[in-house]
């Protein structure tokens, strides 16, 4: 299993392996560190950071669904300043890629979070969550409109000195249109998918289960949708694509890599198996070793069609 080179390059971002922990599911990295030390991973994406702290939605915030879960955390986070003061120092001690996921409710807010993270050591890249409601447009998510998606991208690019990953929403008619707009706006990488919007009803109480009524669907249930969108986007843009959605095992991760993703993120999978990320890395190693593949690069984008 040694011999296998799992390093991947995504533009200027080099990862020791293609397995990242997804935003919102791995806290600030430290929560899981007794189980899987972040240094073993390709990198971690921290919980989405906003300018001000946010308490989040009223409970219940999560509910299990068939092979998946709905969450309506409400993007609860400590806010930019506390992040810098309390969370960053530990992250700076890591020897792996630390990607900071950011979001806002206005273009201005995105820009200010990006500016607040400028020039800071130990941050490898920003991941921009564009699935947020745009308050200026009646709450329609930025990421559902190509023009708004492009403008968020530009606003962040203008303020940052780090590679920018734009994280796409799957709740769109044609994700390729958004991907192209974001690429044209200068994004360095794309990651997808964020959660699908969903809902559950408690038929005994005849109420929505979630305090927020609707939530985001994640987990293995959405994997086929995620894989399809990644496959579409890989054939649409030239910038590197990171695959996300329902990955629990090395085989799941390989589906995305074979389809052309240059890295993957594991979200809900961490809850099902807290060492999922490490197990996947081991599984990628084994897959390559068994086939005498010396580098994971020789797996990426090798899907035969026709």
């Amino acid at each position: 299993m040694d011999g296998v080179d799992l390093r991947v390059r995504l533009g200027s971002l080099e990862l020791k392996n293609p397995v990242l922990a997804a935003s919102g599911t791995f806290g600030y990295g430290r929560e899981y560190s007794e189980l899987v030390h972040p240094d073993r991973l390709g990198g971690i994406v921290v919980k989405g950071i906003s300018l001000e702290p946010r308490a989040g939605n009223p409970p219940p915030r999560i509910i299990e669904t068939p092979c998946g879960m709905l969450n309506a955390i409400g993007l609860a986070n400590v806010g930019l300043n506390t992040f810098l003061k309390e969370k960053l120092p530990w992250l700076q001690s890591l020897h792996t890629a630390v990607i900071v996921n950011i979001y806002g409710h206005t273009l201005e807010e995105y820009a200010r979070v990006a500016a607040g993270l400028r020039g800071i050591d130990g941050i490898s890249a920003l991941e921009v969550n564009i699935s947020c409601p745009n308050v200026a447009r009646g709450g329609m998510a930025f990421g559902t409109d190509p023009d708004m998606s492009a403008r968020v991208t530009e606003a962040v690019l203008r303020e940052t000195d780090r590679p920018v990953i734009v994280k796409l929403s799957p709740n769109v008619t044609d994700i390729r249109v958004i991907a192209k707009a974001v690429e044209a706006a200068g994004a360095h990488m794309l990651s997808l998918i964020n959660t699908l919007t969903g809902m559950a009803v408690d038929v005994h109480r005849r109420r929505a289960v979630l305090g927020n009524v609707t939530g985001g669907l994640s987990g293995p249930a959405i994997r086929p949708v995620a894989l399809h969108m990644v496959h579409q986007v890989v054939h649409t843009v030239k910038i590197p694509v990171i695959g996300i959605g329902g990955i629990l095992t090395a085989e799941d991760a390989l589906q995305f890599l074979v389809a052309g993703a240059r890295a993957v993120q594991v979200g809900t999978g961490n809850f099902v198996n807290p060492t999922a990320t490490a197990d996947i890395i081991e599984g990628l190693n084994r897959y390559c070793a068994e086939r005498n593949i010396s580098t994971i690069e020789d797996v990426i984008g090798t899907l035969e069609t026709g």
Binding site: T25, L35, P59, F271
Partner: protein, 271 residues
Amino acid sequence: MIEQNCKVVSNDLIAADTYRMTLDCPEIAADAQPGQFVMLKVTHHPIADPLLRRPFSIAGITARGHLLVLYRVVGRGTRLMASFGPEDRCWVLGPLGTGFELPKKNGGSLLVAGGMGIAPLGFLAQRVDSPRHLFTGYGSADQIISMEDLGLSQIDARVATEDGTAGHHGMVTDLLLAHIETPASHQEKPGKGAGTVVYACGPLPMLKAVAALALKEGISCQVSLESVMACGLGACQGCAVRAAPESQRQYHHVCQDGPVFDVRALDWDGI
């Protein structure tokens, strides 16, 4: 806190729909404090429904050093658990969360358990050596978990059943109230004097009643809460519960700040 694939040593039906499972995970057992919990994986890889792990209080450490879990079959996950045999293994993540603060030396403890709420309190009773009194409430006599199954001996315990099939006919909170209202001089057991702590776990309405009583009487009180959970580690923020209005924060996380809380830390109206 570790994640371990543990041998299921035993898994027996001990009361109506109620099972007693012991698990061989010495490291977790060694670390466990009363009030802490474990997350159990109820399916075998790679079956993904039900997807999430299930949280269970650590109900004690057996004489043989095994981790004790007491659970009631209420849904899909617990039904799968009931089918585990002694050849099976189960992924266990723990010990998790913040447990009970033990009573001060010689401080008396009143342990109030509703239904499966007995699980963490049984462990607490194992670990407390100052005077302690256990009040347990069940729906019916067939649900009663014996002191033997809890690994408890020489404990002053009283039981209430809602249908009157055993012990006091009524709620466990009746027992607590009666006890507290008995003048201290008539008591052998800890009363509401200084140093006494009420520990409670059970259904929310019961906890509300206990909290109201403790707050009114000015008795120190800790409750163990339940919540839906995904990570169990403080990473997902899925297990939020409203903090007391005067707190610095709007929500606590049951899995990390709890599951045990001082009643004064919670917003009992908004819960």
